[in-house]
Every structure is written in C-alpha cells, then in structure tokens.
Subunit: 460 residues, 2 copies
C-alpha cells in the first residue's frame, strides 16, 4: 500500500474512531494484547534473531507491552482518561453569569509513530506511543525501525488482524517502512501529531520538519539523556562497593542500550570508585550502526579536556567493550559540553567532585534529563541528598533514590520525559497513563442540550 493510501485510510478512520466509546477502544487494545500473547514464542524468537537481545529480556518486554495495553484499557473503562469537568450554569458567578460549560477530550487525529530500535516491543510497533494514541482514539501510522524489520511486519500483521477482529475501523493502524515514506507522511496535512524515540540528531531533524509545516503539529520526541547519578559521601562511606556494582549493572544492562542508562556518575572519591569497577563482557549491540555510533561517542568524550580513560572491559565477539572514563568536576565546569554527549552503549563517565558547591554547580549545568538518581545514606536523611534532589528537580523528569534508573514501570504516576534534549515536549510523558494526553485535544460544550453532548458529558 502506498503512503498516500495508508494516510487516506487513516483519515477515513478518524471520525469513526473518535465516535467509538472508551469501552470499544479498550476492547481493541485487549484484543491486540491477546493476539501478541498468543504469538509470544514466535515473536520473541523473531526479536532475538534480529536484535541479539536475550530471550528472557524479550519475554519480559513483551509482558510489559501487553500489560501496558491492558492498563490503558482499564483506565479507559474507568472514564478517568477523559478528564471530564462540568461547571454548571451560575447566574451569580464572580466575573458575571456563567453558562453551563462541560469539557471532555477528543482525539487529535492521525498520529505518526517512529519506532525505536532498543525496545522491539515496548517502544516499537505496538509500544507506548501506539497504545496511548489508539487509546486516545487516534489512527496510528507506525514507521518501522530498520533494526527489526521482520518482527515489525509480523507484529503489524497481528495488530491489524486483532483490531479488525475487534471491530476497529480499517485504517486504525498501519505500518510503513523506509525514511522517504516516513518523511512524506510527516509532511502530510492528514497527520496531526508525532511520537518519536531515538537519537537527538535524528529526532531534531524530524522535529524541525514537523515545526515548519504549513500547519505545525505537536512532536513528542524522546531524544538523548545521560541520566546523572550522584553518590553522596555518606552513601559512599556506607556502601561504596555495592554502589559501584549496582552502577556497573545498570550501565551495562542490555549492552547499555537504554534511554535511562546512567551514563554520568558524580562521586566524592573518583579514584576509589574507578578502582572498584569490574566491567563484564557486554552483550551484542542491536545493530552495526549503533556499534559505530557508540565507539565514536566514547572517542568524542575521550577527547574532551580533562577526560582520562579509566577502565576498559573485555570485548565481545564484535569487538565492543564496556568502558569507564573519568574527569574532575572542575574540568566539567570549565567546558560543560562533555555532559551533552550520550554514549549510547555500555560506557560511563565518572565525575569526581571536591565539594558540595562543585557538585551542585555541575548539576546546574546539566542539559535536560529523563532521570536523575541519588545514592544517599540509607537513613533517608542525608542532607546533601536533599540538596541534590532539589537541584535535579529543575533538570530531570524522574528522580530516583537508592535505586537505578533503568527499568521504567508503567503506571499512573510515571513520568518519562524532561527538558530538551531529553524530550522535545517537556510538559508531557511518553510512558505511563498520562502519555495519552499527548494525543487528546480538549473540547468544551457551552449550553449544549443533551442530544449534542458526548455521552460522558451528559447528566447521569
């Protein structure tokens, strides 16, 4: 099917999907979740072959993906996601008589989703962007990631079949492949919003196109983040070895290919920290392109004034090895550009700080982040941890205490976002139930009789 035909079908699905009740949309999501579960062995095998990720990880990710779809379904059935607000008419209202006013949300229209490479289920064809857009009632066109083409096609077939079986309009979902077709879709007036997960460079190029259309549209891009970790002296004294071990585990998990990978760690004793690092052989990376990009990013950080190579781990069969570099906070402050390089892979930068002031100064120079992590004293009353949390509040979307940022739960309170370049839309989240609001447009009805009101706005 041509891109134009895909968009024509999406446009045709727009009105029927808007009119579909939340209960119907929930049934669509449930049907797809069931279809993916029924094919889980086939899907995880396909994924393992194309992504080199281990089967247990893929099985867990698929479970997360179907859980996520059903969670949106549950919330749709509860009515919570419509954000209904009713202000009855009030002749004595303080600024003058108020008419009856009732607000709900409608789908923003067809959504274009750029799938990510690193989560072949949870951020790909039927990942968080797709699920939250469908939950909102938007037709979705997914641009497949070339890192797992067969898995993408098979997943899309299952999604299309399950949606049709559950009575969703044809055009509710489609997969497209290739850069050029995706750019045609991005520029097409029928597309009304975009979801993207990937690199800062690629995401920014697409953002620029979305913003320069005759009708600019919201572009929800999750781009780059180095996810700083701060170790306080009290925590270091209490359990230094455990912190090093925990960090290495989080840093090298999945060959470091997570958007929440803790790529920068600020420590009071950098020599002691580095000496305790023991790096494992990393898993095979997703693609040769990522291997090259990772090696180049590590070289780029290594060229920064003051950066020292600290630890190199053993290489895997592709020649990729984990590595740790180090730098003094004073050198970071002299040229904070080093904080802007995301080494997407199993490499981290240890920043040694000499004082609380120096530590906080580095945190204030951090660009926007998805997460900020604090390793503080286990008593929970570490005064420096309080200062650090306050500073991170201005930079990060999620603040983690005595835990690691990798592993992002899907729930109502989740926030996966942050100031640029963490995302292009700092007031939104791409994970958790609030992700749906990216694709919902509020509409208020003034003095409307019941016959004109959406069901959720009528008097009970």
């Amino acid at each position: 099917m041509s891109v134009d035909a895909v968009l024509t079908a999406a446009e045709a699905a727009r009105t029927p999907m808007r009119r579909a009740t939340p209960e119907r949309r929930a049934a669509w999501l449930d049907a797809v979740a069931a279809a993916l579960e029924a094919a889980s062995a086939e899907l995880t095998d396909l994924a393992a072959g194309e992504t080199h990720l281990p089967l247990p990880r893929l099985t867990g990710e698929l479970k997360r993906t179907t859980f996520q779809a059903r969670l949106f379904g549950q919330e749709l059935r509860s009515g919570e996601l419509l954000q209904v607000r009713v202000d009855p008419a009030d002749p004595d209202y303080g600024m003058g008589p108020r008419p009856d006013l009732r607000r709900t949300v409608v789908p923003i229209g067809p959504v274009l989703v750029f799938a990510a490479s690193n989560f072949p289920f949870a951020f790909s064809v039927f990942g968080g962007d797709t699920v939250s857009a469908l939950a909102a009632g938007c037709p979705v066109v997914v641009k497949a990631h070339p890192g797992h083409p067969e898995l993408s096609r098979r997943t899309a077939d299952l999604v299309v079949g399950a949606l049709a079986g559950a009575g969703a309009p044809a055009g509710a979902f489609a997969l497209i492949e290739g850069v050029e077709p995706s750019l045609v879709a991005l520029r097409d007036p029928r597309i009304k919003a975009v979801g993207f997960t990937g690199s800062t460079k690629g995401g920014r190029a697409l953002f620029d196109i979305a913003a320069s259309r005759p009708e600019p549209i919201p572009f929800y891009g999750e781009l780059g983040s180095v996810n700083p970790v701060v170790v306080t002296p009290a925590a270091w004294a209490e359990r230094g070895a455990g912190i090093v071990q925990g960090w290495v585990g989080s840093l090298t998990l999945g060959a470091g290919q997570f958007c929440t990978n803790p790529g920068v760690i600020l420590v009071p004793d950098p020599d002691g920290f580095v000496n305790a690092v023991d790096l494992p052989v990393p898993g095979r990376m997703l693609t040769a392109g990522l291997e090259e990009g990772f090696a180049e990013a590590v070289r780029q950080v290594g060229r920064h004034p003051g950066v020292r190579a600290a630890v190199d781990g053993p290489a895997n069969e592709q020649g990729v090895h984990a590595s740790v570099l180090s730098i003094d906070a004073a050198d970071v402050l002299a040229d904070p550009a080093v904080l802007e390089v995301e080494m997407f892979g199993p490499a981290g930068l240890v920043v040694g700080y000499a004082s609380q002031d120096e530590l906080l100064a580095v945190l204030r120079r951090m660009p926007g982040q998805l997460t900020g992590t604090i390793q503080g004293h286990s008593s929970g009353t570490d005064p420096l941890a309080v200062e650090v949390a306050d500073a991170l509040t201005e930079t990060a979307g999620r603040i983690v205490y005595n835990d690691w940022p990798t592993g992002v739960t899907v729930s109502g309170a989740q926030q996966h976002g942050g100031p640029y370049p963490a995302t292009t839309a700092p007031t939104s989240t791409s994970v958790g139930l609030a992700a749906i609001s990216r694709f919902q447009r509020p509409v208020a009805f003034q003095s409307a009789p019941a016959a004109l009101l959406p069901v959720e706005l009528r008097d009970r």
Copy 2:
C-alpha cells in the same frame, strides 16, 4: 533595565519561586488583584484613553482580570493544580514489582508573554498568560503591547509593587518594551516557554524562532480564528430575526476586535438573512494599524471568487464601517482559502448552504477554530444540530449552542484553544484553570524518602 538584566533577575527568581508553596503563590496573586482593584479608576481611565474602548467594558474587563487571579489562587490553595498522583510500591504488580512512585509538577522556568492589544487587562500585562505562569511558579517577562504603553507601564508598576509587598522574589515579574528586546528574550536560553495572543502572521514568526532555538521551547500562541456559526433551517424558521440581531451584536461588539468574533455564518437563506441585517456605527478601533489591517482583510475576502458585498453600515469618525459580505457554499468549496482570512474587526461573511451535505462539507474544510457555534431549534433535538456539533468537534475548541462565542468565562471547564491556526498548541488552553498546565513540568519521585519529597507528595 536591560533585557539581559531582566533575564538575569528572572533566572535568579526561578529556584525560590519553585520552592514557594502554592499558598504563597496564591498570596502573590491576591496581592496583585487587590492592588489593581485599588487603582481601578486610574487604570480604566488610562485604558480608555489609549484603547478607545468604553469605560463600562474596561471596568468589566478589569473585574474579570482580578477575578481570574483570585480563582487561580483558590485552586492553588486546594492543591488541585498540582495533579498529584501516588502509586505505592507493589511487589505483585502485573508487569513486575513496582517501586513507590509519586508525581507532582514543577514550574517550567521563566516565561515570556507577548501581551495582546484587544484586552488591555485580561490578555495583557497581568492577563491569563501571566497569571497562569505565576500560579505555576514561573518568573514572567511580559512584552508590552504598543497599543497601550502607559497602561502597560502603570500596570507593571502595580504588579511589581504588590509582588514585592507580598514577599515574592525580585525578578518574579518584569515588563519589557519593543520588538527587538522581545526577540532577544525569545532567543535567550533562560526563557523556557512563551505565551502569545495576536495575529497569525506575527505569532507564526515568533513560533518559528522558538522552534528553531538550540533548545526549542513550548510556544503557546493563540493566533487566528473565524469562529463559524451554523444556523439550522429549524432555528431560522423559529427565530430568524433574533438570530440576525444576535449575530450582528456579537460581530460588532468591541468593534469586532475579539478572537472569538463570529466572522463566518452559514445560513440556509442567505438573501433573507442579509436583508435582515442592520449594522450599527462601530466603536473606534484600538489602533490605526488595526484599522488598516481590517480594511485590507475585507478587501481580500471581497476579491475571492463568488463573494458579494452585501451590507455596508455607517462609518465612524475614523471612516471605519461594519460590513457583511456573502458567498454561496459551492463557491467556498471550489476555493476554501476564503475561510482562512480573519477580518479582525466588525465584518462577517454569510455563507449560504443549499443542503446538509454542502454545509457539512464546508465545515470539514474549516481550518482550526477557537469556537464553533450552532443556532439550532430551541427544543434541543434538532437533528442537523447534532450532525453539526459532531463535525465541529474535529475543528473547534469550544462548541456553543444557541448563544454567541464572544464572552469567554474563566472557569475549570473552559477550553480556549483549537487546532492551528487557532493556536500553535492544540492540546492546551489559554483561558481557564487548565491554562496553568502549559507552564508545569511533571516530575516523578521514585523510592524517595520523605525528606526529599515536595510537601504535597509526603504521606499525610
């Protein structure tokens, strides 16, 4: 004070304002409301001299402005505006053990507000953008509208004084003047979001700058809208003369200088409609520039194929007169560009439709609108009205029944926004309590001890 000094002060206010409790922010808003009220005679006199708007209108607008500030204050005290959500830890969570996760919002950072000309109080120095940004805890830099410079300065003095008196940080608010300084501020990395109300052309130019910064920032622009009105045959038969009169009143109110001015009306009997139109002498427009822009827009619509001059009203002392033009729906469908021209002033376009299909086809070609109005049968069961409401749902932010779109109440359920070009941010509103969310960034705390949590996230 130079723009740089203004921005330095705003940046310095950022952290203390974030740390200020909602109760403190509410007290700031109340203090400014009281100060404006105490100076109301002086302010409305100044406004009348600079804007040519009648005193009763200005008095009402000032009342609306202080009401709005106090309404945000009330809601801040209730805690509602923080959107707090707490997910307790759950070892048995469906996708795997869930940590304790608690979400609140923090201010996005210093906000640049471009004041509007047409509401010298409610959308100007201390208007909805400023109030909602201060309520969110953001320092605000307002670019004064040159249409009412003295009023802007006096209002700003009162705001600064009242904020200082209520203990707000210096730098919480500042006024700047002139295009060049505003562009310097717009490009400055310390500015984190923008509010704008004005023309499509001007707003788009500023949006483009905001989107092309090294760190692109949210640009909440309210641009152009023709606010279509649909008259059903049943309503026309029931009360045609009253509808014509109501429309003329809404169209010429305030010399037609409202963003919700009903500039296009679709009617089943255009000749009968036009014959019943009786246009008043319009009030003096805000500025000579608006007079010229209005005249040019009317000429532009008049040049559209199929458009006929229908009624010209008597001129005011500046030579401005109200006018009504007309066109057949078939000619609109042949070239819908005519729907994109906002005649900002007392002029309207009557579109005659020959069938329900033609009517709905025109509505589907409408660009994004702030409002859509239906004049239907008073029984509330007009079947065509139901179809029209459904169609308007995909185009407009607010749907009004048997009332007129001018007069926008400030309340919790209000939605003042819509797809481009009505706004540049279709998922947000610039009026009503939800306007605050434009300037709030969600932050989640994971497994954080009480000492690290903002007060609103702690266990009670």
